[in-house]
Amino acid sequence: MRTLSKADFQSSNETRWCPGCGDYAILASVQAFMPELEVPPERIVFVTGIGCAGRFSYYMNTYGMHAIHGRAPAIATGLAAAREDLSVWVVTGDGDALSIGGNHLIHAMRRNVPVKVLLFNNRIYGLTKGQASPTSELGKVTKSTPGGSIEPPANPIALALGAGATFVARSVDRDKEHLSGVLRAAANHEGTALVEILQNCPVFNDRAFEHVTDKREASENRIPLEHGAPITFGAERPRAVVRLPDGSLGIVGAEQADAAAIVEHDAKRESPDLAFALSQLGDLTHGPVPLGVFRDVEAPVWGQTIASELRAAATRFGERELDELLHNANTWRIS
């Protein structure tokens, strides 16, 4: 196995995102992370949907298919059905994954297809020039919602957990270290991994995640999820996530927190209840946001046992077996 470097994953295609787009940072992190997989570029496939994120596949020097709006999870599922020897990645956006492609995303996660899904959430339609997306906040003024959006936003993490996703995480575009850690955990997961990446659109929704990317604000607004660690955050104002008397989770000042009530993160819990409660914490628009791995549990991977068995059967099934199959009915001879 040859030693791989970031350069092995950079394609010669010219990147064409807008200057300052968060997608550049994500691309650089992914390309830099890829050598860690120790999988040669020809065994890696990126399947993408439509939207700015969809162009991602052109910029990776792996196999790539820039598919149809929302359909990448379905196409990747078909690829995974035929080839369990590949590392298959889907790159999608909030409109692509949660609006037009919602059904495919849900069912890929429900099946636990061995595919890693990177969902770039910029809370806006960028490529179509600035309409509200399913994750746009209530009241958001866009070209398609001049009076402010009247729809509550979708929560990708909660949706993924509801669909039964076995790996669910959230990271941010401009934090290479955090993103690499989440990518690593996703890559190590055997089934479907859903990674929401908060991504800045400098043209149509600039600074949407300033509160978690700006250095000073970030230290107050990031709720780090680390398996086995108590969930606490905030440099100037230390806070903790606690179990409230009504059973829900809440954020309280660290000084008021009863140590016993501070929630210890458990991403490996069979039940998704804690992960779901964490997904309801905070607010993507302002205030604290949980980041990291919400859930990472082992479950049977879709087709894992049958894929290789069936391919072996296909190899064994030759002309003699075909003749037998064709004759497997009430037959009669004419001589």
Partner: protein
């Protein structure tokens, strides 16, 4: 092509014995020989008519007749019992010569209840036989069927030969002799009683049905016994009840058949086997992704059982996903297939368009049914032709094939895969509900004789030369470089690509070039010339496509028997059309195009060839009948 089965004599020993007895006892009763017979089993959805018809078909095939069948059932799984809406039927046409269709009008109608009689009576010609369960003609059942007066009493059946058999009563008394058998078991065995009686009347082999009953109900001995006795009681009823059953009708086995081994096959099974054969001949694993839809689901069911052939089936979350999964599988180097019916085709259009842009193999099978929208899910039609040809945005040419008979679905499936793989293109294969459900005898091909399909995957390129994903061979097909091929990493997608290099391109002349290359590739697909079955001096050509082949052939035969001259040809390749079609069309003064739509092929021919073809359109959710073709031809020749 329908083929002609005949049975080795030895296999009918048991039956021969019974028949001989019947002849001895039946002295004085009618012994009639006929060239062909049409039998229709009709009853409530729950009466087991499809089962009775299927068993009768198998026995008839072994009996050495040519045959064609047509099941017809409501979309509702259990429509209200006893109503006309809930009537299910199965028609079998069998003959001592080559036959082409399931028959227009039944010679024998089996009616298990008043609704079945009501639903089918108008299609009977005077003199036809009707076998009915007299016990089912109760006041309540008559009312449910919408009869104010019983048709048994008011003379409505005076033109027919009616056999009123108290089946329910007979079976209830039969059940009393079987320990553990309930009156419900007796009721459920009525179909086998009717099958037994019809089997006697037409002198069908019985051992195959007996074996089937024994195997089918091996886990429920009481039910097996009830059904066996019911079947035999039906047979014996024919043999002994001279007052009611006029006698036997014999349809001799067909002679002069091509040698070989035969079986019956319906279009669904033939398609499934064709896809598996294509998988074997190409060494590509078959991946079928589908979403449940009538009538295409049957193909999913058949292939889901084919794990031993390495077939991977996926029940997708929707029609769009099914097409996407098939395409994803093809991208990975498998044989990706998706099967659906009309409404599903609407949803697959974007994936077919993507496959056309990606230039990857994909087979999409459309088992057509009556539309628009949900239309009539259990009724046949061939009205998706224009959608298959043109139903995508942009210039998106796609090869389209149409199967012409149940058994021909095997060849059509193989041909679809051959084209998809050789030319790296999506292919639409049009079948229809009639083909899917109808069955006919099939001369089983030998695997070794089927042409190999070479996937011709791209090899790892020379490291010094860049890999060109959109370079083309003599067929204008591009390389199929599957993930895992070292050094051939490339990125494809729905955005227009530059010739050769495959990079994203908005260049004006490149788009024109790529558009024309895609079109030229499809236009250049090797298609056999159209063969014409024509009388010397014929001035009228019948040009058909798809499942109406049998009806057109039979209609033409009838016209020829009248001494008239006519030619016919049948299209299997709808795009590209055969190279000699222009010349064929110009060789006849008149061209008549019968089809189960409002003239879609006629429209294509007019547009492509500026020929003033005439359309014979039928959109009744039923197949074309030979008699209709005959009348249409006579009208033209008038």
């Amino acid at each position: 092509m329908l083929l002609y089965p005949r049975l080795d004599n030895g296999e009918r020993g048991y039956v021969r014995t019974m028949s001989a007895q019947a002849r001895v006892r039946g002295v004085g009763r009618r012994e009639e020989a006929r060239e062909r017979v049409v039998v229709r089993f009709a009853g409530d959805s729950g009466d087991g008519m499809q089962l009775a018809g299927g068993r009768f078909t198998d026995a008839t095939a072994l009996g050495g007749n040519d045959l064609a069948t047509f099941p017809d059932f409501p979309a509702e799984i259990r429509a209200p019992a006893g109503t006309v809406a809930g009537v299910s039927s199965f028609q079998v046409h069998f003959a001592s010569r080559d036959i082409a269709t399931p028959g227009d009008s039944p010679d024998m109608l089996v009616a298990m209840n008043p609704a079945a009689l009501k639903a089918n009576l108008s299609q009977l010609k005077a003199g036809a036989s009707i076998l009915l369960d007299e016990d089912a003609f109760s006041k309540r059942n008559l009312m449910k069927a919408g009869y104010a007066v019983s048709p048994l009493e008011d003379g409505a059946l005076r033109d027919f030969e009616v056999m009123r058999v108290p089946m329910t009563t007979l079976l209830l008394s039969l059940a009393e002799g079987i320990e553990g058998a309930s009156s419900r078991d007796a009721q459920h065995a009525r179909n086998l009683f009717a099958l037994g009686l019809v089997s006697w009347i037409y002198d069908r082999p019985t051992d195959i049905t007996v074996r089937w009953i024994e195997a089918k109900f091996s886990k429920t001995p009481v039910v097996a016994e009830m059904n066996l006795r019911a079947f035999k009681a039906g047979w014996n009823y024919g043999e002994t009840t001279e007052s009611l059953v006029a006698g036997q009708v014999h349809v001799a086995p067909v002679k002069d058949l091509p040698a070989g081994t035969y079986r019956t096959v319906n279009g669904t099974t033939a398609t499934a086997l064709g896809l598996i054969a294509a998988s074997v001949k190409s060494s590509l694993q078959l991946v079928l992704a589908a979403y449940p839809i009538t009538p295409a689901s049957e193909l999913l069911h058949e292939l889901a059982r084919m794990g031993r052939a390495g077939v991977r089936t996926v029940q997708a979350e929707d029609e769009i996903a099914a097409a996407g999964m098939a395409l994803g599988a093809s991208y990975g180097g498998a044989l990706g297939v998706s099967a659906t019916s009309g409404p599903g085709m609407d949803l697959k259009a974007e994936t077919i368009g993507l496959a056309a842009a990606l230039e990857l193999p994909l087979v999409v099978i459309d088992v057509q049914r009556a539309g628009p929208s949900t239309g009539m899910p259990t009724k046949t039609e061939q009205a998706d032709l224009l959608m298959a040809l043109y139903g995508r945005h942009g210039e998106s040419p796609v090869p389209v094939l149409a199967a012409s008979s149940p058994a021909q679905c095997f060849d059509a499936a193989l041909e679809a895969v051959r084209i998809a793989v050789r030319y790296r293109t999506p292919v639409i294969l049009l079948s229809d509900l009639f083909l899917a459900n109808s069955s006919e005898p099939w001369l089983i091909p030998e695997a070794a004789q089927l042409a190999a399909i070479d996937p011709h995957f791209a090899k790892p390129p020379n490291p010094d030369a860049p890999f060109l994903p959109y370079a083309r061979n003599d067929d204008l097909a591009r390389p199929w470089a599957i993930p895992g091929t070292t050094g051939a990493q490339h990125q494809i997608g729905g955005l227009e690509k530059a010739d050769m290099t495959g990079t994203v391109s908005y260049d004006a002349s490149n788009h024109a070039l790529m558009t024309r290359l895609r079109a030229a590739k499809v236009a250049g697909i090797e298609v056999p010339d159209l063969r014409v079955d024509g009388d010397e001096g014929a001035q009228l050509l019948l040009l058909g496509w798809g499942s109406s082949e049998g009806a057109i052939r039979a209609g033409v035969r009838r016209v020829r028997q009248r001494g008239l001259k006519v030619a016919r040809a049948h299209l299997h390749h709808m795009n590209p059309l055969p190279g000699n079609l222009r010349q064929v069309l110009s060789s006849y003064e008149r061209v008549l195009v019968p089809e189960m739509n409002e003239g879609q092929l006629a429209r294509v021919l007019r547009a492509e060839y500026l020929v003033d073809v005439r359309s014979h359109a039928k959109v009744e959710g039923r197949p074309l009948f030979a008699s209709e073709i005959e009348a249409a031809i006579l009208g033209e020749l008038g």
